[in-house]
């Protein structure tokens, strides 16, 4: 099984990774003929970032569900694994999805670079390079050298590029290199208008492409010529104006221009990346809370993050022949953007171009329909329908089991939150009537019903579950749940809602 190593940098990285996890959970697969194993590595110095914590929890639940239910059931059918699982012995990694950045917690930047120990020329150079000022987590204006890094680089990529350069000597990078094979690929997610992502992307890219010069790692050849895709997320949301915050809307465009100018020579200009995806949205919408990081930085999910996650799917669909490299350079680099058919405030599936609509509408709707049943009907049907009574049983005991109560419920609750957040953040993505009756779940889709066509309600849903479970054998209750609900929701949505397979 080929692997995709996904480096998710900063808050945007975590949130795009969350969207990717939702897409994979819904059963979207880049290529039905080829299995991919996804190895996410989240790079963010801000460990208490709520977006990062939410994504980590989500990935943990995904892993547990896939491990218990198996990978052949439609939902959760792409393997997601932590880096430490790839390492056979002498496991020195923590088993989490996050990259362990050293010496950033409770550390000022000048302590990190041993500013006071530098010789005179280096001291003077550092003074020039980091001469600006910023605002710390207590709202006080401080010199850039005095910035505390445990809430990230708060819009200062010049600091981030220094700190993140430790990546090349990290245990994580050594493990990636040691386990990287010629079929594997790399994808880097970053935003361009902040600090961590803007600095991290070129730094990581450079270290991968210069792997041949790094004597600390194995598998250097594979890594140098690896197929690398990346998405660089341009400004896509507004934040509230705060006088004592180091982050301002007005800086976003300037920082973006500066970073793009740098990328022109060091990323795109030197063909370092095989496929680069750009995305932005100037819709704006309601401004997000201005939180540089000290209050946990919990931003609502945004449609642009979902579209960014689709870039990863698109990258995996790209044939190997289009991603060839020679001496660490992409032979035919690809550049892509994303667009929708209708410029509307609340996006429905029909506002996508056909390709995108066909790619995601059915699968995401399936997960939404699955969630709705579990929330509203599972308890009522669990002891009195053949699909739940037959072995392996999906009765009350199963519903009280930790697999269901913790992993499935928590995951689907996050899925619901994610959908609700996307409805209200920026350009809303609201393809579902989440609190309506079953037959009006998918906006813009009229359910066929009449004298000879049954209405879609929970009785109909149970009928379909009974039909799809008849005569089937399953290896476990969890496998049965995933397989049965995938087939049933697919049947209902294609036959009654007219969604295309």
């Amino acid at each position: 099984m080929a692997r995709l190593f996904v480096f998710a940098i900063g808050g945007t990285g975590s949130r795009v990774l969350k969207s990717l996890t939702m897409l994979l959970a819904s059963g979207i697969k880049p290529d039905p003929q080829k299995e991919w194993e996804i190895v996410p590595i989240i790079i963010d110095p801000h460990k208490s970032n709520e977006d990062l914590k939410r994504t980590e929890r989500l990935l943990g639940n995904y892993q547990s569900i896939a491990n218990e239910g198996g990978l052949s059931n439609g939902f959760f059918s792409t393997k997601i694994t932590t880096l430490d699982k790839l390492v056979a012995s002498e496991n020195r990694l923590s088993g989490s999805f996050t990259f362990n950045l050293q010496q950033v917690s409770n550390t000022r930047f000048k302590e990190y670079i041993d500013f006071n120990q530098l010789n005179e020329p280096s001291h003077a150079l550092a003074d020039i390079l980091f001469s600006g000022s910023s605002i710390n987590k207590r709202g006080e204006e401080v010199n850039l050298l005095d910035v505390e890094m445990d809430i990230g680089f708060v819009g200062n990529p010049n600091i981030g590029s220094v700190v993140l350069n430790q990546f090349k000597d990290s245990q994580e990078f050594k493990e990636v290199a040691a386990n990287f094979s010629s079929d594997d690929r790399i994808f880097i997610i970053s935003s361009i208008f902040g600090g961590t992502g803007a600095a991290g992307f070129p730094t990581i890219l450079k270290n991968i492409r210069n792997a041949m010069n790094n004597n600390n790692i194995d598998g250097r050849g594979f890594l140098q010529d690896s197929k690398i895709g990346a998405i660089t997320v341009l400004p896509y949301f507004k934040i509230e104006r705060e006088a004592d915050s180091p982050i301002n809307n007005s800086d976003f465009i300037g920082k973006t221009k500066a970073a793009l100018y740098y990328y022109k020579d060091n990323v795109t200009g030197n063909n370092s990346v095989n496929a680069l995806y750009y995305i932005n949205d100037d819709f704006g919408g309601k401004a997000l809370v201005n939180d540089p990081g000290d209050n946990g930085q919990k931003n609502g999910a945004h449609f642009v993050e979902l579209a960014s996650a689709l870039a990863i799917i698109d990258f995996l669909k790209t044939p190997d022949r289009d991603l060839e490299c020679a001496a660490g350079k992409a032979i035919n680099p690809i550049y892509k953007e994303f667009g929708i058919r209708n410029d509307v405030a609340g996006i429905k599936f029909s506002d996508f171009e056909d390709y995108t609509e066909n790619q995601i509408s059915l699968r995401i709707s399936q997960l939404a329909l699955f969630r709705k049943f579990l929330n509203e009907q599972a308890s009522a049907s669990s002891e009195n329908q053949p699909w739940s009574m037959e072995k392996p049983e999906l009765g009350q005991q199963f519903l009280n089991d930790s697999f269901y109560r913790t992993n499935v419920t928590e995951f689907l609750s996050s899925f619901g939150e994610w959908l609700v957040e996307m409805e209200t953040t920026g350009r809303g993505f609201s393809p579902f009537n989440l609190n309506s009756s079953l037959d009006s779940l998918v906006k813009g889709k009229v359910v066929k019903s009449g004298a000879f066509s049954k209405r879609v309600n929970y009785g109909f849903y149970d009928d379909k579950l009974n039909k799809h479970s008849r005569g089937k054998s399953y290896s476990s209750a969890s496998q049965k749940m995933m397989d049965l609900f995938f087939k049933t929701t697919e049947d209902i949505l294609t036959s009654k809602f007219g969604l295309k397979k």
């Binding site: 053949p386 009574m389 009785g459 149970d462 009974n466």
Partner: protein
């Protein structure tokens, strides 16, 4: 066939729900009191009881076959309909004969005999319905939503 149904309804001689004279009438003892030459009601009513019970089984398990009609209370509702109909059929036929005095005059028949035969028919239809719906072969193979439905579950 006639003996088979006669034995069933007369409970193999163990539980007489009705008199021996009613048994003779049901076997077809003619109005001239000479031979069993009239309609054998045991066979007629027994066959109809089987058909009716199987029809209602098919109605619940294969024709309606809905997840909202597959609970034990629905089973009991169908059983009630089967029992009532079979009682009425088995009660009405001899009762009409009595009212019309259409039987051998040496036989002593009463309404309680009609009720007894009705109860006997109702009980056998109930037993048959339990048997058909408890043995899993038919419902498991041919029913989608009622394949787990019996008189005690779900």
């Amino acid at each position: 066939m006639a003996d088979f149904f006669a034995n069933l309804y007369e409970w193999f001689g163990l539980i007489p729900f009705y008199s021996k004279d009613m048994g003779d009438k049901l076997r077809g003892w003619d109005i001239t009191c000479t031979a069993y030459s009239e309609t054998n009601w045991y066979v007629m009513i027994g066959t109809f009881m089987i058909i009716l019970t199987v029809f209602f089984y098919a109605l619940q398990y294969h024709i309606i076959d809905k997840s909202r009609w597959n609970k034990k209370q629905h089973w009991w509702l169908f059983a009630l309909v089967i029992v009532v109909l079979n009682f009425l059929i088995a009660f009405t036929i001899p009762f009409n004969a009595i009212q019309a005095e259409d039987f051998c005059n040496t036989l002593i028949l009463s309404v309680s005999d009609c009720i007894g035969f009705g109860i006997s028919n109702a009980i056998w239809s109930f037993i048959l319905f339990i048997l058909i719906t408890t043995i899993p072969v038919f419902r498991r193979r041919f029913s989608t939503n009622c394949r787990e439905t019996t008189f005690w579950k779900p």
